[in-house]
């Protein structure tokens, strides 16, 4: 431990702590912009200036480690003035369009502007309007608002290892650019949206499709249904001031009903269906001897990554569509028939923690019903905006149940929302199908949690099945390289594009950091624990679906609707 004084108040902090961390311990929040708690120190914004007794000038709190006996003053006139000047310099080259900005009230820069109250800027206004890049179906890049903190670059390059964006040019022209300044859509970008989570301001954000949904909801001809992904129920509460990890499933269903959706369904249902199809596909591969490893295919950012960087592994991907797309395909076939409404009159909305889902839904091959299976994908953040726009305070709502038939789900479906969940759900089912014995223990804790690569071996009828669970594309790359070098021989690998899995997806509430991810993970498993059914194959509605419509797992109909034939 190191003993220091912050504004004359003694505090003891761990060795290696920064001034920023030490100050936090005594309740002093030093302003930061380029600092991100899950990232490396960049120290480029220079807003975190403080004074240290005996030091030459001011020091940056985010990058300066404390030393024994250090006396830190965060609140001298010199330090305050300096921080304010840095903020003024940033604002002078910023559009200050808060009222029409997507990050209004959720913006780190705006927060400091409010705290510092800069009535009049002493500087020349120097910002340049740069045309927005709206080429991606998932995210928008508005560099006029960029404060050049580099947080998006670190996510894209170091955590995702995609490298679609990088620093370029210098001086006034210094910016975050794509290779050859191509529109994002023409780059290797996988549309994961992690950059939009990392951005402190409104310079990278989800492409909003709220208006399309309002239009459908207002059209009396349209039967508008919605599905909600597993991870949204444990995150959307944060948008309404609830603690991270708050479970708001029933309130969210009520809100959706209040917004005017005709039916509110659960993607957990098609997650269960995925387990049946993918589990059987895996068993078939075991019989046929491969190709191994089989990779999960429910994370669209991951699919994009394989297509762009590792096409040689395309045949290793499960042919199953993601639960979102299975839902869309069934909604416009099975469900349409069942309720007697033509598919053209059904409008399918998904609420997803993910921006890449927008890209996925727009793919050419996602029209198995003959029309686009999923019409609009909204991220968690967009749904929250719709709810707020309607004057609804989610916290205060009573709870409602999902509608039938796609509202009966299992705990296995819900854990799809956390890294390791698909694997655990698959094991819960495959084990019982193969051994025909009841699993004694349903929890597979080895594959849970935020760690990037998790491994386990499962013994099924004397056969050792080697599995791995990966989250974030950087870790996926690491694993793929190992496989390529012959250093790893797994049978089944779950890959989630985003850190922590869908609970950490690029469409989740602003403020998604690993600390918060951890809370959401715990919430997901709590939901699972409290479910009456915890295994996909024990969901009775799944078997009704097979009986009434699909026939059997991997049937021709299943293949046409639930799998990708030729693409991967």
């Amino acid at each position: 431990m190191v003993n220091v004084k912050i504004n004359n108040i003694p505090v003891s902090v761990e060795e290696g702590s920064t001034i920023l961390e030490a100050a936090k311990k005594v309740g002093v929040e030093i302003p930061t912009l380029c600092y991100h708690e899950d990232q490396s120190v960049k120290a480029n914004c220079r807003i975190c200036l403080v004074e240290v007794k005996g030091a030459k000038g001011l020091v940056t709190a985010c990058s300066t480690k404390v030393t024994e006996g250090m006396e830190i003053y965060t609140n001298t006139k010199k330090a305050r003035d300096a921080r304010k000047t840095v903020l003024e310099l940033i604002l002078a080259s910023h559009p200050m369009d808060c009222l029409k900005c997507i990050r209004n009230q959720k913006c780190e820069l705006q927060k400091y502007a409010a705290e510092f109250f800069i009535e009049e800027l002493p500087f020349e206004i120097t910002y340049q309007m740069i045309e927005k890049d709206e080429s991606s179906p998932a995210i928008v890049k508005d560099l006029s608002k960029c404060i050049k903190c580099g947080r998006c670059v670190e996510v894209c390059q170091s955590i995702q290892t995609v490298g679609a964006i990088a620093y370029s040019h210098r001086s006034d022209e210094y910016r975050i650019a794509t290779l050859f300044e191509l529109p994002l859509y023409e780059t290797v970008c996988v549309h994961c949206g992690q950059c939009s989570l990392a951005c402190p301001v409104g310079a990278i954000y989800e492409k909003s499709e709220i208006e399309k949904v309002w239009r459908a909801l207002g059209d009396p001809e349209m039967h508008v249904i919605v599905q909600t992904a597993p991870a949204v129920r444990v995150s959307i509460g944060e948008e309404f001031g609830l603690e991270p990890g708050s479970i708001v499933t029933g309130k969210m269903v009520t809100a959706l009903k209040m917004l005017g959706f005709d039916k509110v369904f659960d993607t957990d249902f098609t997650a269960d269906l995925t387990i049946i199809e993918e589990g059987n596909e895996f068993l078939q591969r075991l019989e046929k001897g491969g190709p191994f490893p089989m990779f999960t295919s429910c994370s669209p950012g991951w699919i994009n990554f394989v297509e762009r960087f590792y096409p040689e592994f395309i045949h290793n991907l499960s042919t199953c569509k993601s639960p979102q797309q299975m839902f869309g395909a069934l909604a416009k076939t099975y469900y349409a028939e069942k309720i007697g409404i033509p598919k053209e009159k059904i409008f399918v909305v998904s609420i997803m923690p993910c921006t890449a889902k927008k890209y996925e839904a727009a793919r050419e091959e996602m029209k198995s019903s003959g029309v686009r299976d999923v019409d609009v994908v909204l991220t968690t953040r967009e749904l929250a905006r719709m709810i707020r726009e309607s004057g609804i305070d989610l916290k205060k709502l009573p709870e409602s149940e999902y509608d039938l038939p796609f509202g009966i789900t299992s705990g296995a479906g819900v854990i799809f929302g956390a890294s390791g969940g698909v694997m655990e759900a698959a094991i819960r089912t495959v084990y019982e199908i193969v051994t025909k014995k009841e699993l004694q223990k349903l929890d597979f804790k080895d594959v849970r949690g935020l760690e990037g690569i998790k491994e386990a071996t499962v013994n099924i009828n004397g056969l050792s099945i080697k599995v791995a669970v990966v989250n974030s594309l950087g870790k996926a790359r690491e694993l793929l390289e190992k496989i390529k070098k012959g250093e790893a021989d797994y049978h089944f690998v779950e890959v989630m594009c985003c850190p922590g899995g869908c609970i950490g997806g690029g469409g989740q509430p602003i403020g998604t950091v690993n600390r918060v991810r951890q809370e959401r993970i715990e919430a997901i498993y709590e939901v699972d624990r409290n479910m009456p059914i915890r295994q996909s194959h024990k969901n009775p509605v799944i078997w009704t679906l097979y009986e009434e419509f699909l026939g059997e797992p991997l049937s021709e109909k299943s293949h046409n609707l639930l799998h990708i034939g030729t693409v991967h």
Binding site: N44, C45, R46, L58, T60, T85, P122, T126, Y167
Partner: protein, 433 residues
């Protein structure tokens, strides 16, 4: 009294720069031969005694730098010679590169021997293609003759030097940006720690020194640190290459002992100003350096004496500016330079330079107010105190020093008056708008 010396520039122009034979005739490689018989710490001790301080601008004591490098317990260690020479008004490293590259190579090889370094780089600015060619040729010759390359002088020790061509940005001269650029990345400064001495080129310990610094080493090793130190002052050892430029009769590079005053340099060595002109101010150390008035010319070229006055010597550029020049017009050039050269990474420098340029332009076109004068100070101050690297920290040095010594001329410009009759305030010299 002898005003200039030839400690490191001895025999400039008298030998073929890449001829090892001719270099040996003037005592070349004797220091290397001596060094390989010495313990590394003995060599370092001599350098410490010499009071040699880095000649690239930051004036860090070279002996201490080498000692720290020696004790870093991680291998391989790399050596980079900083020959980016990007500071405007600085052209002294070029003299060594072009006329005595073997002295530089010898200095680097001694460093390599001490650190057991297998590989070094000479990062030469892109605008010096001829120097790159000469140095490359000298490297080849030295290798041929066994003073460089594999198994140097039969010791079994090998050291290779590669010439790298600079990427054309001033900031690439900053040591961490230099390392980034050497690795083939875009030259932007790195965050420190980790320091380059521990984690530099390819993440390995790296010693970075200026051309002139390395070129001092052979003399120190051969003649002893004390002798070298003896040429200078109590605090600054040896001699310094200075680049005299601007409104002075004899412009050029001179080797002067520390302790020489600016007045001696400008009037005795430089021959004074052209007839009829009056000295207005002198800028020390290039565009990033302070501007001082006539009344301060008796100050000695000595790191300590300068520091006491809040000044620095920088790379050794000395620019003489006479009274036909306008301070604001002069600042405009400097501001444009830094505005252009800012790498853009940090707020104070990227935004500060933008603001400074706008402010200086206001003084030029007659729209400046007293407030603007305060704003220059405010911006300059935040850059000095909060920029990420030396470029931003020093970009407003000229502004702040000129305001300190010549504030009345700024005020005159607020009132639309330019003594030198250079600024025409948007075409209306009477100030009526």
């Amino acid at each position: 009294m002898q005003k200039t010396l030839n400690i490191i520039t001895e025999n400039v122009g008298q030998i073929r720069p890449d001829s090892v034979d001719e270099y040996i005739k003037i005592g070349g490689f004797e220091a290397l031969k001596k060094a390989i018989t010495m313990h590394p710490l003995e060599v370092i001790e001599e350098i410490k005694k010499s009071k040699l301080q880095g000649r690239g601008g930051a004036a860090y004591p070279t002996g201490i730098k080498w000692e720290q490098a020696y004790y870093v317990d991680k291998n391989p260690k790399y050596i980079i010679c900083n020959a980016d020479e990007g500071e405007p008004g600085t052209f002294k490293d070029k003299v060594i590169l072009d006329y005595l590259p073997l002295r530089l190579i010898e200095g680097m090889t001694i460093a390599a021997y001490i650190l057991k370094s297998p590989k070094g780089f000479i990062y030469i600015r892109g605008e010096y293609p001829e120097s790159q060619r000469i140095v490359s040729s000298a490297i080849k010759e030295a290798e041929k003759m066994g003073y460089l390359g594999d198994d140097i002088l039969g010791t079994g020790f090998s050291f290779h030097i590669e010439v790298l061509s600079g990427a054309g940005a001033y900031v690439c001269g900053e040591n961490s940006a230099l390392v980034e650029s050497s690795e083939g990345k875009s030259g932007r400064p790195r965050i420190k720690p980790p320091f380059i001495k521990n984690s530099g080129y390819l993440g390995m310990p790296t010693l970075v020194n200026n051309v002139e610094t390395f070129a001092c080493v052979p003399y120190i090793v051969k003649e002893g640190g004390e002798k070298f130190a003896g040429y200078g002052t109590e605090f600054s050892g040896g001699t310094k290459l200075v680049c005299l430029s601007g409104n002075v009769k004899n412009r050029g590079v001179y080797e002067v002992p520390f302790g020489t005053t600016l007045r001696e340099l400008i009037y005795d060595i430089g021959g004074g100003l052209p007839e009829g002109r009056k000295l207005k101010f002198v800028q020390l150390g290039g565009s990033s350096g302070p501007c001082i008035p006539e009344s301060m010319l008796d100050i000695k070229i000595c790191y300590k004496d300068l520091k006491v006055k809040g000044l620095t010597l920088g790379s050794g550029a000395i620019l003489v500016v006479d009274d036909s020049n306008c301070i604001i017009d002069f600042l405009k050039c400097i501001t444009e330079f830094f505005y252009h050269e800012s790498c853009g990474k940090c707020t104070p420098c990227r935004e500060g330079n933008k603001q400074l340029l706008a402010l200086v332009n206001k003084f030029i076109n007659g729209s400046a107010t007293y407030n603007d004068l305060e704003t220059i100070k405010k911006v300059g101050q935040i850059m000095k105190e909060a920029a990420f690297c030396g470029l931003g920290e020093t970009a407003a040095t000229a502004h702040l020093s000129l305001i300190k010594y010549f504030e009345e001329e700024f005020v005159e410009h607020i009132n639309k008056k330019c003594r030198a009759n250079i600024c025409n305030f948007g075409g209306d010299k009477d100030g009526k708008r």
